[in-house]
């Protein structure tokens, strides 16, 4: 009976996708860098392998992360993935255990009921039949949710759903047809033979009562096989390719491979592992506050995958990192966008050719030429200092922060040098965000030179943008601290005596300080020390971007204002006395967007300082300020 020709669409599809996956994985593996290859090899024979198995089970099958985010959406993904997985496993066991032979070809398990129509009339086999029917119900319930989500995204708590290409649509249709056609195929066959579980059996009996089931059944078995085959054939060119690719991604990630700053096979694996689930769209402030719905990470990744011209999409992003936090597949969306920004205006066709043949390493050879040049910068003489204070460009527009920091450091008796008092040189991060790393390196070298020459042990900055790049891209001996960390240190070591302010305040985590650098606790500790800190929605890793981000080169000031107003509104919902932030950019942006007083954390602390003894002459230099007993 194995010669039934309806099984061939399925068989061909399955063999095609298996061979394709092997070839594609081999190409990816070959184009990995030497170091990454080693990581992967080591990972395969060590702990990462076990971790990956666990993660595949938890995420690819159970979809735990989506579940946490949104239980209904999680159930939908779980029922389809885990349900299908169980159906295959138990189907194979069924075919192996109850079939006439062991070690059957896959088609035998898939079309088991066709080959064994009388099976499962009684005993253990009957119970097993019910179990298989239950799995089918499990999957069908998820499918129903998927259909609902497609047409009414709001029902799943999703604001937007991703748009599909026509291949996606065909693949989606075939995916949706697989399980209903299986249900009907099994139903008709069981109806004819009076077998089947609680679902297929009863449905079959009902259908057979008024339809020529024996004649109809083969059509549905054909439909079942065809939809499976079509789905497998289209898999590589649709978003559903993410299903097999995610497994590879998990292995690579657990082996310690990261996106880094160059396009690599890992980048490519990530773009193919995106399921276009749309969670990144739901959390995007550009969408929810400014009504921009075409540049989110799902579209960016899709554009990369399909080799579209995505220059506009690539540029139009705040780089706030909220989508990175929620991506259930764990794709490094920000770093990928930065890589793409580094390409500049790329000749799309050439890249297409290069990518098609897996020559991804060639990409870096056609990266953008340097556009900026800072040869005009001359090395500066730098005085020695233990603590170097770098305010940052933006901070010069928020003098209250500088004044507060001076007061705090003087009060704590810190001997510091104000590195950019007369205006310094940019830290380089804005250039990096624009994809101009090579140019940024010039600025980094200039500033590094000053910092090294000063012999400073500590570099304190008031700007999270500078902070992130100082920590990540500068090679320094000095310990880099954001002023919130530094103030916290001063409090902890007892150098600062502060009063308590009876104010209710909320704290906003700046993107580059919180998500970008993991500094969440120090600012909160400092604020709680001097005032009453109230909770806000969407705090810490899900903190809102102020809208002023330098990550976006193209966003208009009107749209930025919309994002700022929305974020400020959310943050000040509890009507606090002040909105505290720790970034000059956020401060400026929020000050324009809300009636609530906006202050930097340093300002708040400076207010809590004991009043200095009245200076007799204003000319007296700052370090003579002495403090009276704390209040």
């Amino acid at each position: 009976m194995n010669s039934e020709i309806f099984i061939w669409p399925f068989n061909l599809g399955l063999y095609f996708i298996l061979i394709y996956s092997v070839v594609r994985s081999t190409i990816w593996f070959r184009s990995l860098s030497r170091a990454d290859k080693l990581r992967l090899q080591r990972g395969f024979f060590g702990m990462p392998f076990m971790q990956s198995i666990r993660e595949i089970f938890m995420e690819s099958l159970l979809h735990r992360r989506i579940f946490k985010k949104n239980p209904v959406l999680g159930y939908m993904h779980m029922s389809l993935a885990f349900g299908w997985f169980l159906l295959i496993v138990f189907g194979t066991i069924e075919a192996d255990f109850f079939g006439e032979r062991h070690l059957n070809p896959p088609s035998h398990a898939i079309f088991f009921r066709w080959f064994n129509p009388e099976h499962g009339a009684s005993g253990l086999a009957a119970i097993y039949g019910h179990w298989m029917d239950f799995l089918l119900v499990f999957i069908l319930s998820g499918l129903l949710l998927a259909v609902v989500k497609r047409f009414i995204p709001g029902m799943m708590g999703m604001k937007k759903t991703t748009r599909h290409t026509w291949t996606d649509r065909i693949a989606l249709t075939s995916l949706w047809l697989i399980f209903p056609s299986r249900l009907l195929a099994e139903g008709f066959t069981c109806g004819v033979h009076g077998s089947g579980g609680f679902l297929t059996g009863n449905l079959g009996a009902a259908l057979t009562s008024f339809l020529p089931a024996a004649d109809i059944a083969p059509y549905f078995w054909w439909l079942y096989s065809l939809s499976l085959g079509t789905f497998f054939f289209l898999l590589p060119v649709t978003r559903y390719f993410h299903i097999p690719v995610e497994l590879i991604l998990i292995f690579m990630r657990n082996s310690g491979i990261t996106t880094a700053d160059r396009w690599s096979a890992y980048s490519e694996v990530q773009t193919h592992a995106c399921s276009s689930c749309g969670i990144c769209i739901s959390v995007c402030q550009m969408s929810r506050a400014a009504g921009i719905n075409d540049m989110q990470s799902a579209y960016f990744i899709k554009g990369l995958r399909n080799e579209r011209d995505i220059a506009a999409i690539t540029a139009n992003c705040l780089m706030c990192g909220r989508c990175d936090e929620v991506c259930p597949v764990g794709i490094e969306l920000g770093p990928l966008r930065l890589i793409e920004r580094r390409q500049g205006e790329r000749p799309a066709t050439r890249l297409k050719f290069i990518d098609r043949y897996g020559l991804t390493r060639r990409r870096e050879q056609i990266e953008r030429e340097p556009t900026q040049s800072y040869s005009y910068l001359v090395p500066e003489e730098e005085e020695q200092a233990d603590v170097l204070f770098f305010a940052g460009c933006m901070t010069h527009l928020t003098p209250s922060v500088i004044v507060a920091m001076k007061k705090i450091m003087e009060s704590a008796g810190v001997m510091y040098r104000f590195m950019d008092e007369e205006g310094g040189v940019c830290c380089g991060r804005p250039l990096m965000l624009a994809g101009r790393d090579r140019e940024a390196r010039e600025l980094i070298n200039h500033n590094s030179d000053i910092i090294w020459k000063s012999g400073a042990k500590t570099l304190v900055t008031s700007c999270p943008i500078c902070y992130k790049v100082f920590r990540e891209s500068y090679y320094l001996e000095a310990q880099v601290m954001h002023h919130s960390e530094f103030i916290n240190l001063l409090i902890e070591e007892g150098s600062l005596r502060l009063g308590y302010l009876h104010r209710r305040v909320v704290y906003h985590d700046p993107c580059d300080l919180g998500r970008g650098s993991g500094i969440y606790d120090e600012p909160r500790a400092v604020i709680s020390y001097v005032a009453e800190l109230q909770p806000v929605p969407e705090a810490r890793s899900m903190s809102l971007c102020c809208g002023g981000s330098l990550g976006n080169l193209t966003l208009s000031s009107e749209k930025r204002a919309l994002i700022a107003a929305d974020a400020a509104g959310t943050l000040t919902r509890s009507a606090p006395d002040a909105l505290i932030t720790a970034c000059p950019q956020c401060k400026k942006t929020f000050a324009q967007a809300t009636e609530t007083r906006v202050s930097d954390i340093a300002e708040l602390v400076a207010v809590a300082l004991p009043k200095p003894v009245r200076r007799t002459r204003s000319r007296s230099s700052a370090n003579t300020v002495r403090t009276v007993a704390d209040g």
Binding site: H396, L397, T398, P399, S400, E421, K588, A591, Q592, S618
Partner: protein, 343 residues
């Protein structure tokens, strides 16, 4: 069948409100003048002298005080009009404090607020000593003492134009009109009071729109040696000598310029007043993109609100100088009287 005397409420006791109240009272109309401050007079109370002729502000104050010293006028101070609504042909105004006032018509003369200079943080108002606003300087003129916080006499003063005006960063795209000429007037006064003191005006455009304004500008250069530098100041800091340092581009020289100042005067612009904005919101009066009240017609209906019995006078509709405010106020009275006669 002449009925009882007509009654009009005037919301706001500044220049516009006082002039309107006086004109109405003269015509035998009963007026209730509602003023939020201690005394009527508005911003004029703080002003020392007026452009273009530098006449003492007291002269105009005296004129206005006389104007409202009329038996038909009842002045209520420390009160604002919170809401206006119609009840048949009558107008009912809810006043702060919970009382009500009934009338036949109402003139909105809520005026303007000076821009809060704290909002331009980069200029350091409230952060550095010796950064003051144009209103603060008038107070100094009143005391005849223009000095730094430490009591020393400034040897260089800078006037920063357009603070809070023509600036989308503070949500004000409009021009406040009078700050340019105010700066010229104040620069001259400084030069007369402190002949040793250098004076610089940092401007984006010099908008000398009124009679004798351009002449005043010329006089400031010709007679008083006031210096003008075309460029918007981006920020101020304080150096080791406790002098202010400003950064600006000298756009005519095409190069960035740094300058030390002893005293920095921020020429704060005009914004819709807060009580006015509140009244507009509660009473359904429409406001324009500049947040001032929007008149029924820009050209021939600038006193009409579009709501029967409610009229506008003065700077609640747009920045204006005193001359225009008084004319606008009289026109509002004319509209009001015509409305009362038609009822």
């Amino acid at each position: 069948m002449k009925e009882k005397t007509k009654h009009v409420i005037v919301a706001g006791g500044g220049v516009a409100g006082m002039e309107a109240a006086g004109s109405l009272a003269e015509m035998g109309i009963r007026v209730t003048l509602v003023e939020k401050g201690e005394d009527p007079g508005g911003h004029l109370l703080q002003w020392h002298a007026l452009f273009p002729g530098r006449r003492p502000a007291e002269e105009v104050r005296k004129y206005l005080r006389k104007r409202i010293a009329h038996e038909n006028i009842n002045v209520i101070t420390r009160t604002t009009v919170e809401k206006v609504r119609h009840h048949g042909h009558e107008i009912i105004a809810d006043l702060s404090g919970g009382t009500q006032e009934r009338a036949d018509a109402l003139i909105v003369a809520t005026g303007f607020d000076l821009f809060d200079a704290h909002r331009k943080e980069e200029y350091g108002y409230g952060i550095y000593d010796n950064v003051i606003t144009s209103a603060d300087l008038e107070e100094m003129f009143n005391r005849k003492r223009v000095v730094r916080t430490d009591g020393s006499v400034p040897s260089r003063i800078g006037f920063i134009h357009c603070v809070g005006s023509r600036d989308e960063k503070v949500n004000n795209n409009h021009c406040s009109k009078v700050c340019c000429v105010s700066a010229v007037k104040q620069a001259i006064e400084v030069r007369k009071l402190l002949p040793e003191c250098e004076v610089f005006c940092f401007y984006m455009d010099m908008r000398m729109f009124g009679p004798y304004y351009e002449e005043l500008y010329r006089e400031s250069q010709e007679v008083h040696n006031v210096n003008y530098i075309r460029g918007k100041v981006s920020e101020a800091s304080v150096n080791i000598n406790n002098r202010l340092v400003i950064k600006v581009e000298d756009t005519l020289a095409g190069r960035p310029l740094k300058m030390e100042l002893d005293l920095m005067v921020l020429m704060v612009g005009m914004e819709m007043s807060k009580p006015g904005a509140r009244l507009a919101e509660t009473s359904g009066l429409s406001t324009g993109i500049n947040r001032f009240l929007e008149s029924a017609d820009h050209h021939y209906g600038s006193n009409r609100s579009g709501v029967a019995g409610i009229f506008y006078a003065g700077t609640c509709t747009a920045p204006m100088n005193i001359t225009d405010t008084i004319s606008h106020s009289r026109a509002a009275v004319e509209e009001t009287v015509r409305y009362l006669g038609s009822k």
